[in-house]
Symmetry: C2
Subunit: 357 residues, 2 copies
């Protein structure tokens, strides 16, 4: 695909959660239809999508019909089964590409890729069993953290090893899955960059935000980050390096630890990212539209920040605060329309506009 998709075209999106929902809204702004592929019933994205296919990733007939009904395929999450992608890519372009998925799906591959680019990560070692964990602990030491190589998000699939005698319990937590041991990083804060690359290779980045987590889930992202501007520039340059190395098309999220010796990359996500939700009320073009522009072959939009924003995730019973949140004129609310409030479930977020620049 070298010419931009024209209004009326259909963007296929794998995954129908809140990211798919907000991607659908952005696509509609540019005159596109969206078609969601999602195994679960009544996904949040269905409320604003032109079409929804409810089927599993092993349903080749449904995958084929989905691909044939759309002009380009993108996704809201990285853990898409390989066989499904093998089929889909024979039928339509997939952005971001398979390399980006392959690398970001596996913590070991990802960290190796980043180190090969000259980008710093926490020290790490491959762990497949008791013996390799013992060897890894010898090199990396404790405290450290054991993580499954795949399918980890929001703190799931992780076990801390404070002292070597906790190694067996941590390994048991992995439930036999291949894992990676990561050394603890002594960081002062976490920042992230949401950056985008267009089909013709242009790169644009939103201002880096400062992230605070609670219980392993993103709690707030604050703009501007209170971090020396030299480090913010380093973060943007690192994101650009990754985008170019992957010949990437779309939006990428990169999380960094800020340490006394510089930045260390925590992880990358080949998609729109929770820590980029502030762009909806801080920029003329938000991360969702930027992603749609890129995968549709459009030029990227202007991501300049016009406001200072604090994004706060509304998790589970944070929704009880809705009456107070809706009444405060500094708040821009973004709710996902999920039917049931559950502890730990991302129900929405609020962008608090602190100052208009």
């Amino acid at each position: 695909m070298t010419t931009p998709l024209t209004p009326g075209a259909t963007i296929g999106i794998l995954g129908g959660g809140q990211l798919g929902r907000m991607l659908s809204v952005a696509a509609s702004r540019l005159g596109f239809k969206t078609h969601i592929f999602e195994p679960g019933a009544t996904p949040p994205a269905a409320d604003v999508a032109h079409h929804v296919t409810t089927a599993g990733y092993d349903d080749h007939e449904a995958l084929r019909a989905f691909a044939e009904a759309v002009d380009v395929i993108t996704y809201e999450f990285e853990n898409i089964p390989t066989e499904a992608l093998d089929l889909l890519e024979t039928l339509r372009p997939i952005h971001p590409n398979r390399d980006a998925l392959r690398i970001s799906q596996d913590r070991l591959t990802e960290k190796t890729f980043l180190n090969d680019l000259g980008l710093a990560t926490a020290p790490f070692a491959d762990v497949s069993d008791k013996e390799s964990l013992a060897t890894a602990l010898d090199t990396i030491g404790a405290p450290s953290i054991l993580k499954t190589r795949r399918f980890g998000y929001d703190g799931k699939g992780q076990a801390r090893i404070m002292t070597p005698d906790e190694a067996d319990a941590a390994l048991a937590d992995m439930q036999g899955a291949p894992a990676v041991l990561e050394g603890f990083v002594n960081f002062t804060c976490e920042i992230s960059v949401i950056a985008a690359r267009s089909i013709d290779g242009r790169v644009a980045a939103f201002d880096p935000g400062e992230n605070v987590h609670r219980d392993g889930i993103l709690h707030t992202t604050t703009l501007p980050a209170k971090v020396p501007s030299r480090l913010l520039t380093d973060a943007v340059l690192a994101a650009g390096k990754i985008l170019n190395a992957l010949n990437y098309v779309g939006v990428l999220g990169v999380e960094f630890f800020v340490t006394p010796t510089g930045l260390i990359i925590n992880e990358i996500a080949p998609r729109v990212h929770n820590s980029g939700h502030w762009t909806q009320n801080g920029c003329a073009i938000d991360q969702f539209e930027q992603h749609i522009r890129a995968v549709a072959g459009w030029p990227l939009g202007d991501g300049k920040r016009h406001s200072d924003v604090v994004m706060e995730n509304l998790i589970g019973f944070d929704m009880d605060r809705l009456p107070e949140l809706m009444a405060d004129p500094a708040n821009a609310l973004h709710l996902y329309g999920k039917a049931d409030t559950k502890a730990g479930r991302k129900m929405g977020h609020v962008n608090r506009i602190v100052k208009q620049n």
Copy 2:
């Protein structure tokens, strides 16, 4: 309805055009579903609505099913048949209310209502036939303009009378419809106010914009308007007076002529308005969300302007400029996903961000 609708509730929208489309997007942001009622096939709003009923306004069964499936009813256009409203209002609340519709549907009723509130309009007179037109011309003189009392928009149903001998031709243009003769107003420019009123009677207004028309259709809205601030205040106060007099709930558009002797109201529209599209890129809460907030019983949001914006409508083959429009980073595009480009058809708009304040 006195308690705010909670996320997951459904907003029913009469009309599936671009205004319904952008209202649906705003509703999704607050966690609501939308259900569109629209006689035409494949309306623009269908791409982003949870549900669409395709039926005529004389289909009482469809109207009843629609009303029973939603929590509150609103609309994107004012010319809804009275019988349909009579049925719908027995089943669900309709915002804005019937008075607002009754008054804005009829130019004669509207001007009488405004004069009764002490708000200036062009001189006008009721015209039903040759004799009443002659009498009206005696009072108002020429040049003047004959307009159908109902169903006029974007310059349709209007005929100029430059000299009295054009009276017969102008009357013929009305095709027998009741009409109103309006005196020409010597104005320097047109401004409009988009204002909102919540269920508990609070009023908020966006900054007035300056409008330029071409061929009877809105061409641009520019913020800020280059008009003395005293007049901008007058405009906002007039809008507030109208909202309160109507016990109005939702967003109202009011168009004013700026004249050497002050403001004259051109017309009011009981809905989101083309001249309010700039708010999508000029404010944290745009006119569409403000309307949804009001009809859902929520408190109004902050409509403070953070940027100077020029909104330009993309009409018909303006769409040929898309490659250049999408490439300019100052432009925020909003396309309606209409399948066929036709001369005179509103295809989208572009908000050009001139300066961030």
